[in-house]
């Protein structure tokens, strides 16, 4: 069985879904909204997309590219499916995730950006 994509380290906040393969991971941005002048990072190292990239979409080269990550991922998604055995699962087939690596995926992405990638 192919190696699984690590699940997001947070459950609700700071998670984003890859627009291409719907893989959900944490990616915490520089939180600018809270304080305008001092750039603060989230206390945890929650930026999996930055460190690991996307397991399914190697071609995107998300690693260490903050801009690209924020562009090619979105937080506008709903529902999460943990694909434990994508090959055997009917749900993965229905959702067209049969080819994806095991991991946590979004059920639906609500962003128009997905059309661009």
């Amino acid at each position: 069985m192919s190696p699984a994509a690590p699940p997001p380290q947070e459950f609700n906040k700071h998670t984003r879904a890859c627009l291409r393969c719907k893989l959900v991971k944490t990616f915490d941005q520089v939180s600018r909204s809270r304080s305008t002048f001092s750039i603060t990072f989230h206390p945890f190292d929650h930026y999996q997309f930055l460190t690991d990239g996307c397991e399914n979409c190697d071609t995107l080269n998300l690693k260490n590219n903050t801009e690209l990550v924020s562009q090619s991922t979105t937080n506008e998604y709903s529902g999460v499916i943990s694909l434990i055995d994508p090959k055997a699962s009917w749900a993965s087939k229905w959702l067209r995730l049969g080819q994806s690596k095991p991991g946590c995926y979004a059920l639906e992405i609500h962003s128009l950006k997905s059309t661009k990638i």
């Binding site: 069985m1 190696p3 699984a4 690590p6 699940p7 997001p8 459950f11 609700n12 941005q29 520089v30 939180s31 600018r32 909204s33 305008t36 002048f37 924020s70 562009q71 937080n75 709903s78 529902g79 999460v80 499916i81 943990s82 694909l83 434990i84 055995d85 994508p86 090959k87 055997a88 699962s89 009917w90 749900a91 993965s92 087939k93 229905w94 959702l95 067209r96 049969g98 080819q99 095991p102 991991g103 946590c104 059920l107 639906e108 609500h110 962003s111 128009l112 950006k113």
Partner: protein, 1115 residues
């Protein structure tokens, strides 16, 4: 295997388009074909027998049925392809497994495999090949065989038995050689592919096999990827896999609902994923669940996909937040898809320049414009009209805010005012560069960024939502120079040039803004919502650009059918909604369907690009709106003319006990004209539904007018006070002493006026009949007049002279008001009452006045008035008797009814003499009549409540009789000079020369017959019939039957003559000259004198129009 797939694709093509292929195939394979087919058939049979004896009979029967309807079965197969039933799926699974086994075991059994292959595409949904492969092998083979033979039978039949086909009445043509060839070639190709495939599969290891299987599953649409050479396709991930084919089957893993702690659904899901990874790392046996699904909207449950519930239980072991006591619930097969699907939300993309509304806070529902969006941290900067509470800000700065309660009132949205900030000593920095906005802004209190008076507010994208296209008045606030927007349309008056220019630029800007919003919302709003039948549209895209038309209908698929308004294009044309824009022409009647003016209807009076200026019919106001917020009036669905049970123009009691009429209804507020206000100062209250207490019915209410006449709903009254003096109006509602009337020509409050009932006179009643002067009389005068005629004889003389009033006036010397002359009717009425008037019960037609044209039955009769029960309206109205014409079968009018009276006086029945056409006073004066009428004082009292019985009793009592008598004599003598009536008093210099056409108060016209009274203050006017000529009432002829009325000078006005009319000069040197108005040149009239004087006759003079009056010569 991929090749095999190719084959299938091809095969399907063949199946699909047999007819198409029939034509042009090479003849090479023709010979081989027949044999091939036979062979196959045999082989099939053989396999069936060999492998699965017990299935044989079944197969045969199947075959037979297939023979009967070969085409049908083909179709079945195809349809099965797309949407496999469960049974077929089962079959498919088995076959597939079977197939793989077979390929390994018996490479040589090509035929059979080929058949297998063929069936495969019926339904091989499941890639789950490890467990069940061996289990079903045997059984599968038999089915295999069956299916294959079925297929081949089809072909054989199609190819071989023409007659059979004819029998069945198939529409297919008999298969000819070419087709046979095609089929043969097809078979051949497939055969070869099959061999290759088998070889490859043989060589492949498990993983490759898996990959190949996957490839096959994922590319179901063959046509696009099919290539002629039958070469292997690249691993194209086909996007168009029919989702239908992925529906769950009984063989798929099931979904189990697991109860978890609320709010921890996602955590459980993700933890299970982690668990799987952990197990993998530690090389422990994996969980037997396939997936875990959490839905955002489903609280307290997650779905776990597994084959069995104990697998679920096992996987969940040791997990927090899971309610282990609750057993997993199986999701029924039919609901599986539903449970893992998410309704696709309407995607809202907030871009810079989007119009948004705030979701919460003090700015809730306020319109804002997006300045900048940061998708990264999901925030945006919006430009919004600030709602600063300067006092609160000051308190905050000084630290006092903590001690004070937070203000509960929402501050008004208005532009930032620096003076106010300074007044409150707020810290304010100007032109500070803000890094995040990359712009210079003013900063108030260190936090609020202000630019051009607007607040720039950074907020999360979730706190704003895209708005429907905002209405014009809202957008105007964002136009440059926004502070002047409110009085935008007054600008022109203020400083014409500057205002107009500014307005123009503002309009341009607004148009631009409007376009922005248009583009944004275009996609999101459905055509049906945007366009209504009857809307006028213009085409903005495509070849037919600028074509105008009217919406004929909106189809369900969103297309809009437009009737083009073009002389050459007559057929309705379909358009996409995006291609159209509403475009109402000036003059169209429209209704506002969105925005602040929603519900208002009116007429388009001006159009500038997308902005239409509408003149509202309900409020008589002008406002501008976006064209897209308009709809054709007749078709607009959202008509706001009621609020709750209260509709426009209803009478309602409010919570505060006041009563009012709804004069305007908006979305959730109604404007009520209450009884609190007066004629001069109307009181209009804006009321919400909660402010209403109950609806009132005023149908049976009555009130008394200034002359104590009864007013009821529907009466026509004349307002006697204030600015609206002498305006006629219809009574809409009555409540106690207050009436609400609808007056024509009144602008405000939708034409509704609220006044005290005493401030008006009801038409046809006492007040209006003679110019409403009665209330002007002092009690003393009244009593004087009442007492004036001492005896019937006295009265007779006085009446016959028609001079009672003047007489009294002259003799008394104390009553100088011209109103005095109006006295007479009262006397007359007193005298002229008769219980059994011949008119009563007659059917009459009202010929003139406000009720002209109505028919009715006379229910009561006075000397001058009659109460007529109208046929068309359930109402009894009071009209002048001389306005009555004979109804069908009745020619009786008052005038003709009293020839005796005239006779007695020596006047001809016909008013040969002008004097004969005198006022009704004369009739009343006949002894016979007088006696007859004067018998009912009691009724009289009721009829004319201004008179008390006491006065009646004084009838014939003490009185300055001498004075009266003397004056009468004097007047009489004067008038009787030369045996002919003096038409104009001596020294009369007024305009109303006999023969002039005048307009009476009730709008009708008449000819002045005689001028009398002191200084000519009273006129005898003979009413007549007028027609409309050149848009104005034009006196045509005297109504013969009607009697002249005596009216006060101030209650008539001269009628402006038209070109070609006879005129009389009423002023200046030429006074009294009769002429023809040859031409009107501005203020001057060119006259051609008509005179008996030969010298003067035909002379042309130019006279100021104001000195002319229309002249009507009776002869």
């Amino acid at each position: 295997m991929a090749e095999a797939e190719e084959e299938e694709a091809r095969e399907e093509d063949v199946d699909d388009g047999e007819n198409g292929l029939r034509g042009g195939e090479e003849p090479e394979k023709a010979a081989a074909k027949g044999g091939d087919d036979d062979e196959e058939e045999k082989l099939d049979a053989g396999v069936g027998a060999e492998e699965n004896d017990e299935k044989d009979s079944e197969d045969d029967s199947d075959d037979d049925s297939d023979d009967d309807s070969d085409d049908d079965s083909e179709e079945e197969e195809e349809s099965g392809d797309e949407e496999p039933s469960d049974a077929e799926d089962l079959e498919g699974d088995e076959e597939e497994e079977e197939e793989e086994e077979n390929t390994r075991k018996k490479k040589t059994q090509k035929k059979k495999k080929r058949k297998n292959k063929f069936i495969d595409d019926v339904a091989d949904e499941d890639d789950d090949e490890d467990d069940r492969r061996k289990k079903k092998k045997k059984r599968a083979k038999g089915k295999d065989g069956k299916a294959v033979s079925r297929f081949i039978d089809d072909i054989a039949d199609a190819a071989g038995s023409d007659d059979e086909e004819d029998e069945e009445g198939d529409e297919d043509e008999p298969i000819d050689d070419a087709e046979r060839e095609a089929l043969a070639r097809e078979m051949d190709t497939r055969l070869h592919a099959r061999v290759e495939q088998a070889q490859r599969i043989d060589a492949a290891d498990d993983e490759e096999l898996e990959r190949m299987v996957k490839e096959r599953y994922e590319s179901r649409r063959y046509a696009d990827a099919y290539d002629e050479e039958g070469q292997r396709r690249g691993p194209i991930v086909n996007e168009y896999v029919d989702q239908q084919s992925l529906h769950p089957t009984v063989r798929d893993p099931k979904l189990w609902m697991v109860a978890v702690k609320q709010g921890k659904e996602r955590e459980v899901t993700i933890c299970l994923m982690q668990k799987m990874i952990n197990l993998q790392k530690t090389n422990k046996p994996p969980m037997k669940i396939m997936s875990v699904v959490t839905q955002d909207h489903l609280k307290g449950y997650v779905y776990v996909e597994a084959m069995r519930d104990d697998h679920v239980k096992k996987a969940l072991q040791g997990l927090r937040h899971v309610y282990h006591m609750k057993p997993p619930k199986l999701v029924p097969l039919k609901e599986m898809v539903e449970s893992i699907s998410v309704a696709k939300k309407e995607v809202e993309v907030i871009r810079p320049d989007s119009w948004v509304r705030m979701r919460s806070g003090v700015y809730k529902a306020d319109l804002a414009k997006v300045v900048e969006v940061n998708y990264g941290d999901n925030s945006c900067v919006v430009k919004i009209l600030p709602r600063f509470d300067y006092q609160h800000l000051a308190d905050k700065e000084s630290g006092e805010a903590k001690n004070k309660p937070k203000p509960t009132v929402r501050p008004a949205a208005r532009l930032f005012s620096e003076t106010e900030a300074k007044n409150k000593n707020l810290s304010f920095e100007r032109g500070k560069f803000d890094r995040t906005l990359n712009d210079r802004v003013d900063v108030l209190c260190g936090t609020h960024k202000i630019k051009d008076g607007y607040l720039l507010k950074r907020c999360a994208l979730t706190t704003v939502k895209l708005t429907e296209a905002p209405s014009l008045d809202e957008i105007q606030k964002f136009a440059p120079g926004g502070d002047e927007e409110d009085d935008d349309f007054d600008d022109e008056e203020d400083d014409e040039d500057g205002g107009a220019r500014r307005k123009k630029s503002t309009n341009n800007h607004i148009n631009r803004l409007a376009k922005l919003t248009m583009n944004e919302k275009k996609a999101s709003k459905s055509a049906a919502a945007r366009f209504l039948v009857g809307d006028q549209v213009i085409v903005v895209e495509g070849d037919l650009r600028n074509l105008e038309g009217v919406i004929k209908r909106v189809d369900a698929d969103g297309r809009v059918i437009v009737d083009p308004s073009h002389k050459d294009l007559t057929d309705p044309l379909p358009f996409n909604p995006e291609q159209l824009r509403k475009h109402f022409k000036v003059g169209s009647t429209v209704r506002v369907v969105h925005g602040a003016h929603e519900g208002a209807s009116g007429m388009v009076v001006k159009v500038s690009d997308q902005i239409a200026t509408v003149f509202s019919t309900s409020t008589n106001e002008e406002f501008s709106v976006f064209m897209r917020d308009l709809a054709d009036d007749a078709e607009a669905a959202t008509r706001v003319d009621r609020i709750g049970e209260y509709a426009l123009h209803d009478l309602a009691m409010l919570d505060d006990g006041n009563v009012g009429v709804l004069t305007r209804v908006e979305k959730d507020v109604a404007f009520v004209l209450t009884n609190v206000g007066t004629l001069e100062r109307p009181n209009v209250k804006a009321c919400k539904l909660a402010d209403f207490k109950r609806k009132m019915n005023s149908r049976n209410q009555t009130a008394q007018d200034g002359a104590m006449e009864l007013i009821d709903v529907g009466s026509i009254v004349r307002i006697n006070e204030g600015q609206l003096k002498d305006v006629n109006a219809t009574v809409e509602h009555i409540y106690k002493g207050t009436i609400w009337v609808k007056a024509r020509g009144v602008q405000r409050d939708g034409g509704i006026v609220c006044l005290r009932s005493r401030q008006c006179f009801v038409h046809g009643g006492q007040g209006t009949r003679q110019g409403g002067a009665i209330p002007g009389l002092t009690p003393a005068m009244q009593s004087a007049f009442t007492n004036a005629p001492k005896s019937p004889g006295h009265a007779l003389i006085a009446q016959s002279m028609g001079l009672t009033a003047q007489m009294a006036n002259a003799s008394g010397g104390m009553y100088q008001q011209p109103a005095v002359q109006q006295r007479r009717p009262v006397i007359q009425q007193r005298m002229g009452r008769e219980r059994a008037d011949p008119m009563v019960g007659k059917l009459v037609t009202i010929r003139r006045g406000v009720y002209a044209g109505y028919k009715g039955k006379v229910v009561d009769c006075g000397p001058k008035t009659a109460r007529v029960e109208l046929q068309a309206q359930a109402r009894t109205v009071t009209v002048n008797r001389d306005e009555l014409g004979g109804g069908p079968g009745s020619t009786t009018t008052y005038g003709t009814a009293a020839p005796a009276a005239y006779g007695g006086y020596g006047y001809g029945q016909q008013p040969v003499d002008r004097y004969a056409a005198q006022t009704p006073a004369h009739t009343a004066a006949t002894p016979a009549h007088g006696a007859g009428y004067a018998t009912t004082p009691a009724r009289d009292n009721a009829w004319n409540p201004t008179m008390t019985p006491g006065r009646d009793d004084a009838w014939g009592a003490d009185e300055p009789a001498g004075a009266h008598a003397g004056s009468i004599a004097a007047e009489y003598g004067k008038n009787d000079k030369g045996g002919k009536k003096q038409l104009v008093p001596d020294g009369y210099d007024g305009d109303y020369l006999p023969g002039t056409v005048v307009k009476l108060m009730n709008g009708s016209q008449g000819v002045v017959k005689r001028v009398h009274g002191v200084g000519g203050s009273a006129l005898d006017v003979q009413p007549g019939i007028s027609n409309v000529k050149s848009g104005v009432e034009h006196f045509e002829k005297i109504s013969r039957g009607a009697r002249a009325e005596t009216v006060a000078e101030e209650n008539v006005e001269l009628v402006v003559p038209l070109k070609g009319d006879d005129v009389i000069v009423v002023n200046g040197d030429e006074r009294g000259e009769v002429a023809e108005l040859v031409m009107v040149d501005g203020a001057d009239g060119v006259l051609k004198i008509k005179s008996s004087n030969q010298e003067k006759n035909g002379e042309v003079i130019i006279v100021d129009m104001s000195r002319l009056a229309r002249y009507f010569d009776d002869k």
